[in-house]
Each structure stands twice: as C-alpha cells, then as structure tokens.
Symmetry: C3
Subunit: 132 residues, 3 copies
C-alpha cells in the first residue's frame, strides 16, 4: 500500500506520456508525507476499447483509483487526495484545453484483516539511505 | 461516475467485438436514465493471461464492474443494473451458445468524501444541445 | 465469483511466466475448498507504465485483488487467503532473491444485492464429471 491504478482511453497515447503521468502521481504521493516510500506503486492500464458519454470517439478519459490500507483518518486522506489530484489535474491542463476529457480520482480502503504483503523494497531503501 | 470496467479473457478476441460491447453497455447505461450522460465511461481491458475453473484453456470470461457515486438508493441501483446486465447478456448469447463462458457484473459505490473529478464533457454536451 | 485480478509491472515479463502465475493461483484457490470450481477466474493485467517507491525503474510489483461474493466468514476468508498468498509468494521466491520486488494481495466482498451472473461452465463441469 498505497496502490494507484490509472485506467485511460487509448486515444490519449501520443498526447500524454503515461510514464510521466505515473511519475507525477508518485512524486505527489511522496509529498503528502503519509505513505511509506517503499510501498508506493503507481501504474497505468491502457484501454483499447471504450465508449464515453454520447459515444463520440474523440472523447477521452483518465480514471485513477487509490487503494490504501487502514489507519489514516478522513481528514488526512482528503488532504493527501487533494494534493495528488491537484498535481495530476494541473499536469493534464493541456489535455483539457485541447479536447473533451474526463478526469477522476477515487479512494478505497483495504481491509487489514484480509491483506497480505511481502516487500523487500523497504529494506533496500533503508540500506541505500545508510550507505548514501 | 459512472465507471464501467470490463476485464475479459483474451480468447474472446475474434469472437466478440469489444468496442461494440462497450457501446452496448454505454447505450444501456444511458437508457437507465439515472446517470448524467457526460459522466458515463465504459472501457474493456484485455487479459492476455488467465486461468479459469478447471484450467481448460477453451473457457472464457467477461467480468464487468460498475463504480458509481453515492446518492442512488438500492432499488434504483438494482433496476439500473438489471437493465444493463440484460442488454449485455443478450448481446453475448452467441458466446454462451458456442462455448463455455462466465459473465458477471458487480457494483461498487465510491465514497463521495474522497472523490475528485474534472470534466469538460458535460459543458460540451450542453453547448451542442443548445446549438443542435 | 471468485475473481482474482493481478496487476503487474511490465518489467516482470521475461522473468516471470504470467500464465503459470495464474495457474498457481487457480490451483491454490481450488485447494482452499471454499470456492465452486466453475466460478474461479484468475487473470493478469500487464502495466506498461508504472512508478514505484523512489522511482527506480528496476523495481517491480505484482498486486493481486480477490473479489468474492458474500457468505463466507472472516476466519474462512483469512485461512483461504493465507493459503493462496503462500502459494503465490513461494512461487515468486526467485524474484525476491534476484530483485527489489513488492507483492501484495487484498480481498473485497461484492454486495450480493447488486451482483449479476450467467455462467454455463458449472453445468459443463457437472456433465464432464458424470461422463468422466
């Protein structure tokens, strides 16, 4: 945790650099200060087939979902979400300016009772920090 | 909102036109009358790798999830879901007739407290309607 | 139900056989004994674009989500989840040994009131068993 999953209409390719989008979200997530660095995972899934609003093929969307663990109160989550959304939205200003586009961001909390993980990134980051 | 995300086994390609499937779902969603037109986003994600039931590679699936905002009661959601599912299921009759296939549709409600959006499609649709 | 959806960073390709991963999860799900065979659907989605932890491109992740129906208590779900996670985690030991990698597994319960399905695999499996 946290997991940011982006789904986007394939017609954004060529107009948006999705690796850069992932990096924008990652940096914003780090800036919130509420997530352990080694747990941040952002990814984007290209949707080749889609149908939006009135079916006009020129419309496009980017929908992000954050799944995170329990233990952060609503105020903290809202503030962090706001920060990440603002960064993402600002980065996409050119898309809004040049086309009809729908951006969204929602958050889900995973039940800690049914959550399993194994992660050797945390340890590697600590080792790097110690030797850095 | 609403977001319809379809995941499907890659072996449906060639047998099912996924753009048409998205359009079938979009039209059915419009027909329910409970969603703002400019918020409807349907997409399909092809799953190259999968394992179903007893592992037989000829089996296939299509699983749809709807994520929508708060504010519609259960009766309204059930009726709308039923309508969309019937349209999708009827469209897939040939797949059921010709193969072993699992179709599913589930619904989740997004927490309005942690939901962000920016969408210039609504405004564009209104402008078109006014000039139409 | 149940639906296992795996999202993974594209840099795992070549190091991990994702069809085999799906099969490992499918077999472990069968072994739990709590799922009807004909309802098990495991799939993997390749994420071409991603950003993990400090942004190092050599990091990788595999995140699995299980969505299942209501009707199984927490103890049953925890035990089943533990079994599946152990099988998956053990299978990925070489990835942990050779790289910095984050594995996760979470579970969600779908609302039975807004759940629709149509599935001719159950019947086919019964017919095979009868003629087997």
């Amino acid at each position: 945790m946290p997991h940011f999953t982006i789904e986007y209409s394939a017609n954004l390719d060529g107009r948006v650099d999705m690796s850069e989008i992932c990096e924008v979200v990652r940096r914003a997530a780090v800036e919130t200060g509420i997530f352990p660095l080694g747990g941040i995972r952002v990814r984007a899934i290209r949707c080749e087939h889609y149908a939006i609003a009135d079916g006009n093929a020129k419309l496009s969307f980017l929908a992000m979902m954050l799944r995170l663990g329990e233990g952060r109160d609503l105020v903290t989550r809202k503030k962090a979400g706001e920060h990440v959304f603002k960064a993402l939205s600002a980065h996409l200003d050119p898309v809004f300016a040049g086309s009809r586009f729908a951006l969204s961001f929602d958050m889900q909390i995973n039940d800690k009772e049914t959550s399993w993980k194994r992660n050797n990134i945390h340890k590697a980051l600590k080792a790097e920090a110690a030797h850095g």
